[in-house]
Amino acid sequence: ATGHSYTKYNKWETIEAWIQEVANNNPDLISRRTIGTTFEGRNIHLLKVGKPKASKPAIFIDCGFHAREWISPAFCQWFVKEAVRTYGQESQMTKLLDELDFYVLPVVNIDGYVYTWTRSRMWRKTRSTKAGSSCVGVDPNRNFNAGWCEVGASRSPCSDTYCGPAAESEKETKALADFIRQNLSSIKAYLTIHSYSQMMLYPYSYAYKLPSNNEELKALVKGAATELASLYGTKYTYGPGATTIYLAAGGSDDWAYDQGIKYSFTFELRDTGTYGFLLPESQIRPTCEETMLAVMYIANYVREHP
């Protein structure tokens, strides 16, 4: 993966080469599979990270839903790096990878990510086109079958929050949803990594109702936020999506929860607005380091409550 760096933003071709390299170099810990292709025909890669063992519970982590949120794919790469670096060296990660698998989807919206590198840094949606409109793209986080297009989403193809012509209309969201459906019996937690605003959210976002294990999830994100803040003092707010941030239907965390994955979270990483989507590369390291603490906290809880 020539030119790849964990402390730089990497273009898609570099990330794709890295995916192959990290899997090839760590066959005892990482396997790679392709779960689909994007609208423009790129392969959607998924890494399975964990010590091979029959019937292990798993945690699914995805990055890069929204194309311009570059810190998100940077975190997925960082997570894999840390897994490889610390397995067999640090007890917590070793225990996690011995007892759990992590499915890591490094970039969901690959076409959009490529577009931010080549045409417009501020692009958000997918790059699909539909008959009858000259506008491009669907908001992948409005495209899941969770109160699909009811609130906080737009039916206009030109809107940045366009929900699409149908739930899972996008090849990228369909591939992700199909994989989770096929592996529902093992996936115990779902984490989707976004930016910005420094929040940890749990269901629901498509309505003001609360999940049945609201108190458990609230305590979990509170603990995770405390862990995160312990490194650099970064403050995260947390709670159910609808009241903590805003109503938004069609999100992947709500969908995963309704599929039966009772530990489902959205992370909104740094910052709170100074740079927004243009977070400097010098903040990749501290952002990923502190996020690792929160993810490890949640993963450890899931390990203890399979």
Binding site: D160, I245, G273, P280
Partner: protein
Amino acid sequence: PSQEDFDGNQVFRVSVPNEDHINLIQELANSVQIDFWKPDSATQVKPLTTVDFHVKAEDVATVEKFLEQNEFHYEVLIGNVRNVLEAQFDSHTR
């Protein structure tokens, strides 16, 4: 198309005290192309919150005039998006 350069584009943070101001934000979004950063769209703006949005260089004066005429409290978070965009590549390894 060539790569968009964002020169002169700005990002605003606007305080929204009540429903009247939400309606004004929606009115602004209907008249000028606004890229919402937080929340994701005009329909998600809530009272007693702030709204972050990105405006093209040619619309900056119009937006500022609108905000001032309607007595919004606001700040310019990013004075020139192009500069911040270039500055994001500040890694010492680059």
